[in-house]
């Protein structure tokens, strides 16, 4: 009987060694006995210590990661096999159990080749065996030998004293030397010489920082003759300056410097450039406080030329995250760092994608992050939710422009997926024309959701109302926020809908203070920490922040802190909500590491008594905040 599928398997295998050394009818015999295996991302083909299978494998599509697990439960990647690569060869060579674990790195299809029939047809083919031995040796070769291993992780190993300093408030120079913006460069230079300093801040009449002059500015602009020595400081200063509030940590300071590629930060009274200068933080100050930092990772990300490099940088961030958690670092700081890294990864992925595009973007655009990335709360890898806003174009150019950005969106999501951010299952990504629109269309979209609220709008609001700018023209994002707040003025019903949605998951405690665990089959007896504890807080924070018309605060914990500042009556409640949120994200992340997933479901049984108590304490604020919402938005009778 005919078997066309065997022929297709044959067509594929014949291109790759060792199969290309086999005779056609022999290979066809093998092809007929092959099994085609479909694997989802994360599926394990065999585990270290498993007894050997009667087959070995060839990757047809996708990629398979081979790793071994050290005694400390660290996973060390040995090889990533993709199209045409062989793996699981050990049973061919030795009758012993597997030494490595093979896991699907992405959605993959592999061919399982039965060993007995392969042996039979290739028995006396030396070429085949030579190849197999080599392939086996390379797959098993572990580039990270013991000493190198420790070198690789040395940056991230717990070094308590250093890391605690890292989260200290930065030790900046108070009362920095300044010069007035009308003074001449010569006067400024004399001041710098007298104080033996390498830079001077230029301030206006109200002591607000307007620019900065460094040694290299003088070298590049005066010594070269571009400007005369008595020129106004305004002509040669770098402006504007980047400002921070005074309680910033060393980590934040350094991240900002790497982000803007600068060496000096101005500390001002309220953190913006519109208030009085009170200090300067230099790169030197930062280096003096510490040695190794996540900025290493950020630099690596900025320099990455390929997605593969980005992936390895992002994986390092996971190690960093893990060690921070183990050391009980403040979760707020951890979240900030990871959010920075995630944004940097996205920015770099966009830059790489832009290079791949056939031409430059036709108009300016902004890439926005949605959902948890938009709230800057992503710790572990989660789904990617993103969108593109581009400038308005004439009607006849619209289709072409949108197509361009959708194409860009596709490239970026593809590489983000490679890096480890899974595709959004609801397809809320910039690669979807629905979420890649002009600023006017976006405004209309949001107005429609706000004014003609239906279930669909509420469903989407939890993702789309938490957008934040990642790349491109930031003013587009601000424009959209402004328009949203304008529209919100016109209605109060939308708030009621959001309120009802925020109450859909009541506090997760049942009778006798039992945890409300899942009742359905798959997740029976597991506690869904995301839906039952985290999301109610996220929803409540969003609603209150929208109602108070606060812009630019996206993180749930920060939102509650901000609310605590402005609503004195509920101050304590908001603070405890912020605390509960942080504690819950930490729980989720730790569980995620433990089980190598998103940490969404918690097995209550595995928690210690103390952890259970801690978790339970987080539920009270959820209950209280929901009561506040009920009263404030009059939701008792709103169904």
């Amino acid at each position: 009987m005919n078997n066309s599928i065997a022929y297709r398997v044959y067509d594929f295998l014949k291109n790759f060694p060792p199969f290309n050394h086999l005779k056609a009818d022999d290979l066809l015999k093998i092809s007929t006995e092959v099994s085609i295996i479909y694997l989802e991302k994360g599926d394990v083909i065999f585990k270290k210590g498993d007894p050997f299978n009667s087959v070995f494998y060839v990757v047809r599509n996708g990629a398979i990661t081979l790793f071994h697990t050290t005694n400390e439960n660290e996973q060390v990647v040995v090889n990533i096999s993709d199209g045409g690569d062989l793996f699981g060869l050990r049973p061919l060579i030795a009758q012993e159990s597997y030494k490595l674990t093979a896991k699907a790195n992405e959605e993959s299809i592999v061919y399982a080749i039965p060993i007995d029939i392969f042996r039979r047809v290739s028995a006396d083919n030396t070429n085949v065996y030579k190849f197999l031995i080599t392939a086996f040796a390379t797959n098993t070769f572990d580039p990270y030998t013991a000493e190198e291993n420790s070198k690789i992780f040395v940056d991230y190993l717990p070094n308590t004293s250093k890391d605690i300093e890292y989260f200290q408030t930065a030790n900046y120079t108070k009362n920095p030397i300044t010069c007035h913006h009308h003074s001449s460069l010569k006067d400024a230079a004399i001041k710098m010489k007298n104080h033996k300093i390498g830079c001077i801040i230029v301030v206006d009449d109200n002591d607000k920082p307007v620019g900065i002059i460094t040694n290299s500015d003088i070298k590049n602009k005066i010594a070269t003759g571009t400007f005369p020595i008595d020129t106004n400081v305004g002509n040669i200063m770098s402006s504007p300056v980047i400002t921070c509030k005074k309680d910033l940590t060393v980590a934040e300071g350094q991240l900002k410097m790497v982000q803007y590629n600068i060496g000096h930060l101005c500390i001002t009274k309220d953190g913006t450039e519109n208030s009085k200068l009170i200090g300067v933080l230099t790169h030197h100050d930062v280096l003096a406080t510490l040695g190794n930092t996540p900025s290493v990772i950020l630099k690596e990300i900025k320099r990455a030329k390929r997605t593969k490099k980005l992936r390895s940088a992002r994986l390092k961030a996971n190690h960093l995250l893990k060690s921070y958690l183990e050391q009980n670092m403040p979760i707020g700081h951890i979240t900030k760092i990871i959010a920075q890294i995630n944004d940097a990864v996205t920015v770099r992925a966009i830059e790489i994608a832009l290079k791949k595009m056939p031409k430059k973007p036709p108009v300016k655009f902004s890439w926005i992050a949605l959902g948890s990335q938009g709230r800057k709360e992503q710790l572990l890898f989660t789904d990617q939710d993103n969108a593109i806003i581009f400038e308005d174009v004439p009607e006849e150019k619209h289709k072409e422009t949108q197509d361009y950005f959708v194409e860009l969106g596709k490239l970026v999501s593809k590489s983000l997926n490679k890096i480890g951010f899974e595709y959004c299952e609801a397809d809320m990504m910039a690669s979807n024309p629905d979420w890649c629109k002009t600023i006017t269309d976006w405004k209309a979209q949001f107005s429609d959701w706000i004014l003609n609220t239906d279930d669909k709008a509420i469903l989407l609001s939890s993702i789309f109302f938490d957008f934040s700018h990642v790349y491109g023209k930031k003013s587009l994002v601000n424009e959209l926020s402004d328009s949203i707040y304008e529209t919100l003025e016109k209605t109060s019903v939308f708030f009621k809908f959001l309120g009802r949605d925020a109450l859909k998951n009541p506090p997760p405690l049942g009778f006798f203070k039992q945890f409300a665990v899942e009742k359905d089959n798959q997740q029976k007896d597991l506690f869904n920490i995301k839906n039952r504890a985290i999301m109610p807080l996220v929803d409540a924070a969003r609603l209150l922040i929208l109602q108070n018309k606060i812009k630019g605060v996206n993180n749930t914990a920060e939102r509650f802190e901000k609310l605590a500042d402005i609503d004195y009556n509920n101050k304590e409640l908001y603070q405890s909500c912020a605390y509960a949120f942080k504690a819950l994200s930490k729980f989720k992340t730790k569980q995620g590491f433990l089980h190598n997933n998103t940490g969404k479901f918690i097995e209550i049984e595995t928690l210690t008594k103390e952890e259970q108590l801690k978790l339970r304490r987080c539920f009270k604020p959820i209950h209280d905040i929901q009561e506040v919402l009920k009263v404030r938005f009059d939701l008792k009778n709103f169904v």
Binding site: N3, A6, I109, A112, D427, Q522
Partner: protein, 220 residues
């Protein structure tokens, strides 16, 4: 009529039909992991369920996430009805080189192959009707197997906000959406393999969303 029906029931069925029915006698409920699925496709002389005839049947089996290549089926049928205009789609000509068998022979092999597997097809109602009409022409009953339509399943897998009832979800569309290479499209076996891969990818999607149970899969 009633008498007629009564006699029909008593009439002698061929052994292979009785063997096929026997698979359904014992009621066993197995989990999705260990169930044998068979994805199949028919190439026909046209789309008229009564007039047109099946030219070839292709089928592949799925157990767990594995498709064993040595457990596939590829049948070419002798043709009484021939339509030149569909040749350009399926490429099967009346006196082609493939070894052809009679309809009855094909049914025999097909039933023995599928047994009580859950059948999967794209736009399943057509393929189901084609096989059923074949069975009826030869004096047997209709297929007893459970059916899953990948088109329907795909629609179910979509997020509620993207459901579009007006869109016909073709196999080509699913291929591009789910990133399945359309190799050997429009041959029965090629389409059967494509349908199988589409099915596995959909299962994975559903599994992630915890929809994976028999009730969800089998009810339209």
């Amino acid at each position: 009529m009633v008498w007629n029906w009564f006699f029909k029931k008593k009439k002698e069925y061929p052994d292979f039909w009785l063997d096929y029915l026997a698979h359904f006698k014992k009621k066993k409920k197995s989990d999705i992991e260990n169930t044998r699925f068979v994805a199949f496709d028919t190439e026909t002389t046209g789309f008229d369920k009564i007039e047109d005839r099946v030219l070839s049947i292709g089928a592949v089996a799925i157990i767990g996430k594995t498709i064993p290549v040595n457990d596939t089926l590829e049948l070419y049928l002798k043709q009484d009805v021939f339509k030149a205009e569909t040749v350009k789609i399926h490429g099967i000509i009346r006196n082609g080189s493939e070894e052809k068998i009679s309809e009855l022979e094909a049914l025999k092999v097909f039933l023995d192959y599928i047994k009580d597997a859950v059948l999967i097809a794209h736009h399943a109602s057509f393929d189901r009707a084609m096989i059923n009409n074949m069975l009826v022409r030869h004096g047997m009953g209709k297929l007893k197997n459970h059916f899953i339509d990948t088109g329907v399943l795909y629609k179910k897998s979509l997020h509620i906000i993207y459901k579009d009832n007006t869109k016909p979800y073709t196999l080509d569309y699913l291929c591009s959406e789910l990133n399945v290479q359309p190799i050997d499209r429009h041959t029965a076996t090629g389409d059967a393999l494509i349908t199988a891969l589409v099915f596995l990818k959909l299962l994975a999607r559903l599994d992630k969303r915890k929809h994976l149970n028999w009730g969800y899969l089998l009810n339209r």
